[in-house]
């Protein structure tokens, strides 16, 4: 993974790749005319983007604290984040204009991107190692 020593650049890269992958469901929802799916997906994606920024700020704040304080701080912040996810999913489930599953997939999109990216990097590394061993 590139930019492992620069968290801001890494965030930008994650967001860029997530939006690039998210174009596929957005365009397919636009073509089929499923507006509730589109709205739900965009809703989930926007919330996950904002929560990534919040996570980064929390980590930066936690690193200035003692070990015990940081542990408690991150745990409490996680539960606040969990409540936010609950509110988002509850809203998507209650609202007729938002598709619940699309909102859930929108929330997961960033995690899927990171996992996919890591797997691709692993493949790249293993192929490069094999090529070098043949030389």
């Amino acid at each position: 993974m590139k930019n492992m020593d620069n968290p801001i650049k890494l965030q930008k890269e994650i967001l860029k790749k997530t939006y690039l992958i998210a174009l596929l469901p957005i365009v397919s929802a636009l073509i089929t005319g499923a507006m509730d799916v589109l709205l739900g997906f965009v809703f989930g994606l926007v919330i996950s983007t904002l929560l990534l920024r919040l996570k980064y700020n929390n980590i930066r704040r936690a690193l200035k604290m003692d070990e015990e304080k940081a542990e408690k701080f991150i745990r409490n912040r996680y539960f606040i984040e969990y409540a936010m996810y609950l509110i988002v999913l509850f809203t998507a489930a209650r609202n007729q204009d938002l598709n619940f599953l699309a909102a859930a997939v929108g929330l997961f999109m960033m995690k899927f991107t990171v996992i996919l990216w890591t797997i691709l990097d692993l493949f790249k590394d293993s192929i490069q190692q094999k090529l070098e061993s043949y030389k």
Binding site: M1, P7, K55, Y56, E68, E71, Y85, A93
Partner: protein
């Protein structure tokens, strides 16, 4: 064999789904504890090696992104159980 009326069966299913939803929400507690533990260790690591701060933050960020997803899985299942039955 005891036979229940459809209303009783319906209410039993509804109660069971609410209990299952509540149980599914417990899964959200684990990632919180794990993330807190990781954050605590990260602060020690930064204090020991301040020049590796950037790498520690990015590793922690990626770890938190991935580990937080199990909590959302449980939330999705819980809300699905509450609203689908």
């Amino acid at each position: 064999m005891v036979e229940f009326s459809p209303e009783v069966v319906d209410s039993i299913i509804r109660i069971a789904s609410f209990i299952a939803a509540g149980t599914a929400l417990i899964a959200g507690v684990g990632p919180g504890i794990g993330m807190g533990y990781a954050a605590g260790k990260a602060t020690t690591a930064v204090r020991r090696q301040p020049e590796a701060r950037g790498v520690i933050i990015t590793t922690m960020l990626l770890g938190q992104i991935i580990s937080g997803s199990t909590g959302i899985y449980s939330l999705v299942i819980a809300i699905f159980l509450v609203f689908s039955v």
